[in-house]
């Protein structure tokens, strides 16, 4: 199944909690060409590790996580590959067995906290129901535990909030409720799908700090899906950059920020506004994902890439680079020399 030479990059670290191998997701619709949203994506998550999946809209990062959770609609979706969680391939589990895992071993929080909460059910019940489902507890005990969780995620006056409804609390509070729900059964893996995108900037920082406090260092692994490199810089141990449904670059956080090798990653980093000056106009990557060519015909990024040559439009690049920093590019940016290890400072041209 795996074929390390061509498309599987080795992962750092020994023990794996989750190992995604050659995951592909194809959407088929009658009367339309099948669309491959995720194309042989492989990555590992070690216990306690924070892994970032980064990329712009439509690069397949959300679809990857939904496929791992088994949350994609069955109709019109084809999922191939493996997602081995603690020795079991989640993709081959029966509905019932997967249901037992979801919410207990693996949890997920979503982008829009308002639409992700049921508008007609009290917040307390929405937290408590996951506890009642996976723990052998009575109603009262589950509600008590739910209130504890609300308190842990920093919701003031949790007793009152338990009885309130989503429309009665703020956006940041709603995301806190969802985090409380996700962590209520102490899962070993949390997938956060752009958890701060729908929030104000100040609230974003609070939510990230909360995730950091509750998840990072607690032994729970975290897959952070985001298009925001600032989030990655503050949180992730290792980063996977997705483009057009494939991982194009993988490195640990410092390597990536210090010396991005893939032109796409370089472009992304250059388009982040910086506070330390020296830059008049933000860089933008020309074109849009709509310009992509299929991976089967070359490099999907080639039409938007300044460094692209005829080779890029003929041949799909295979993995290259050293063990801790892999990439898929025919013409990588030069490796950083004397890379400082203090965080994102240098940037690609």
């Amino acid at each position: 199944m795996t074929n390390p030479g061509t498309h599987t990059a080795p992962s750092p670290g020994g023990g794996k909690l989750l190992s995604v191998e050659d995951l592909s997701v194809t959407f088929t619709r009658p009367g339309a060409e099948p669309f491959t949203a995720v194309d042989r994506v492989s990555f590992d998550v070690a216990p306690g590790e924070v892994v970032g999946l980064v990329g712009e809209s439509g690069c397949g990062k959300s679809v990857t996580s939904l496929a791992v959770m088994g949350l994609l609609p069955r109709r019109g979706t084809q999922v191939r590959g493996r997602a081995v969680f603690d020795g079991t391939d989640l993709l081959t589990l029966s509905d019932g067995a997967l249901r037992d895992r979801r919410g207990a071993d693996l949890a997920m929080i979503f982008q829009d906290p308002l639409s992700s909460l049921n508008p007609v059910v009290p917040l307390g019940t929405q937290v408590a129901e996951v506890i009642r489902r996976h723990r052998r507890t009575g109603r009262a005990q589950a509600l008590r535990r739910a209130q504890e969780m609300l308190e842990r995620v920093g919701i003031p006056d949790p007793g009152r909030r338990m009885r309130e409804y989503p429309h009665q609390v703020s956006g940041g509070m709603r995301q806190r409720v969802l985090i409380a729900t996700a962590l209520a059964c102490e899962p070993r893996l949390l997938i956060a799908d752009e958890p701060t995108t729908a929030l104000d900037v100040t609230i974003q920082a609070q939510i990230l700090a909360l995730l950091k406090e509750l998840v990072v260092g607690s032994g729970t692994s975290l897959i952070m899906i985001t298009h925001d490199l600032g989030v990655v810089a503050g949180l992730c141990d290792s980063v996977n950059v997705l483009y057009g449904g494939r991982i194009v670059e993988r490195a640990d956080r410092y390597d990536l920020f210090d010396g991005p090798r893939h032109p796409y990653t370089g472009g992304l980093l250059a388009s982040v506004p910086r506070l330390d000056g020296g830059q008049r106009r933000l860089h933008s990557i020309p074109g849009s994902v709509a310009d992509n060519i299929p991976w089967s015909q070359g490099c999907a990024f080639a039409p938007r890439c300044a460094a692209a040559t005829g080779l890029c439009r003929r041949e799909s690049p295979v993995w290259s680079g050293e063990a801790g920093h892999r990439l898929r590019c025919h013409h990588p940016l030069p490796a950083a020399t004397a890379a400082p290890t203090t965080g994102p400072k240098e940037q690609a041209p």
Partner: protein, 335 residues
């Protein structure tokens, strides 16, 4: 919540009052009028004048209206001048209302239960059965009630002879009838034979009358469930590993049924309109059939009372619907 209920009740009271005024004026502006109806067209001018005076028709209409309200308040709805000549209107009303309440309730319950369950099932499964029910529901909405009623009567009563073609189970003297609702009274008395008899008479009118509410509720539930299934919170519920029945009940149906509940209230109106036709076809002695009789004999006192009774039932159903909606949806309670 109590304030909400109080407010809705006061609103309904105001609606009712406005309705009495509209109905009062409307009935009095119909051609013919009570004089022709009571005395016939060949009455002498003296008789007419006497009647005008005794009925108080020479007074300004608002004085008449106030007096009417006063009598209404005291439970006096007047006397029938038509089929039930001489009988107090209240008596006609009280003997007829239970039959219609029973018929309408049966039709509404059956239409709702089947509509919601088939609608949910169709939205989650799709496929051939979904398509079949969708097509059938269009047919059900397009075919007039009286036609369906005639076809049902012809096929199941006249041809097959399985069910009685007309009438209503007469349990007077067989078992005690405290409510006048045949099903309820039979159950109360624990009389199996009476229950069977009641069901036999109720079946065809109920089926005829429930087709439209079923079709409407089915289509709405189907659309609403299909929409709710796409919602993020259903995905959240699935991500929590909840069991299918929890997701279906607490997360999908509870949200999908909010618009359906409102429509059930609106359907009640159509149900009473349909009852007039259904009861006439099956000669089922309820408010609808009486209303048809009262119209043909220009029995204004009865007509006025019956229309008011239907309006009260309609208002009542809608208050219940509003309260249910508020109980189910916290966002409604806040307003």
């Amino acid at each position: 919540m109590y304030r909400f209920i109080l407010r809705r009740t006061v609103q309904a009271g105001a609606t009712f009052l406005a309705l009495t005024a509209i109905l009062f004026v409307w009935l009095r502006s119909l051609p013919g009028g009570p004089l022709d109806a009571l005395l016939g067209e060949n009455a002498s001018p003296q008789d007419r004048a006497k009647l005008v005076e005794s009925l108080g028709l020479d007074e300004p209409i608002w004085t008449q209206y106030v007096r009417y309200l006063g009598r209404f308040w005291n439970g006096d709805l007047g006397v029938s001048t038509g089929v039930w000549r001489g009988a107090p209107v209240t008596e006609v009303l009280l003997t007829r209302a239970p039959a219609t309440v029973e018929l309408a309730l049966c039709a509404l319950v059956i239409g709702t239960v089947l509509g919601v369950s088939v609608g949910y099932w169709a939205a989650t499964r799709r496929g051939v059965f979904d398509f079949a029910f969708l097509s059938l529901s269009v047919l059900g909405l397009a075919v007039p009630v009286f036609f369906t009623a005639f076809v049902l009567k012809y096929v199941f009563a006249v041809r097959a002879g399985w069910l009685p073609p007309s009438g209503r189970a007469d349990l007077q003297g067989v078992i005690p009838t405290p409510t006048g609702l045949t099903l309820f009274d039979s159950l109360l008395a624990g009389d199996g034979a009476a229950l069977l008899e009641s069901v036999r008479y109720l079946t065809l009118p109920t089926v005829a009358l429930s087709i439209i509410p079923f079709a409407v509720i089915f289509r709405l539930t189907r659309a609403s469930v299909a929409e709710t299934l796409q919602q993020d919170f259903v995905r959240t519920a699935t991500a929590k590993g909840l069991r299918n029945r929890t997701i279906a009940g607490r997360h999908v149906l509870r949200n999908s049924l909010l618009p359906v509940i409102t429509v059930i209230g609106l359907q009640a109106g159509g149900l009473f309109a349909g009852a007039v036709l259904t009861e006439t076809v099956f000669n089922y002695r309820g408010l609808g059939q009486s209303m048809a009789l009262a119209f043909t004999t220009r029995d204004y006192a009865v007509l006025q009372a019956l229309i008011m009774a239907v309006a009260v039932l309609y208002l009542f159903v809608n208050i219940v619907v509003d309260i249910t909606n508020a109980l189910c949806d916290p966002r409604v309670r806040m307003q």
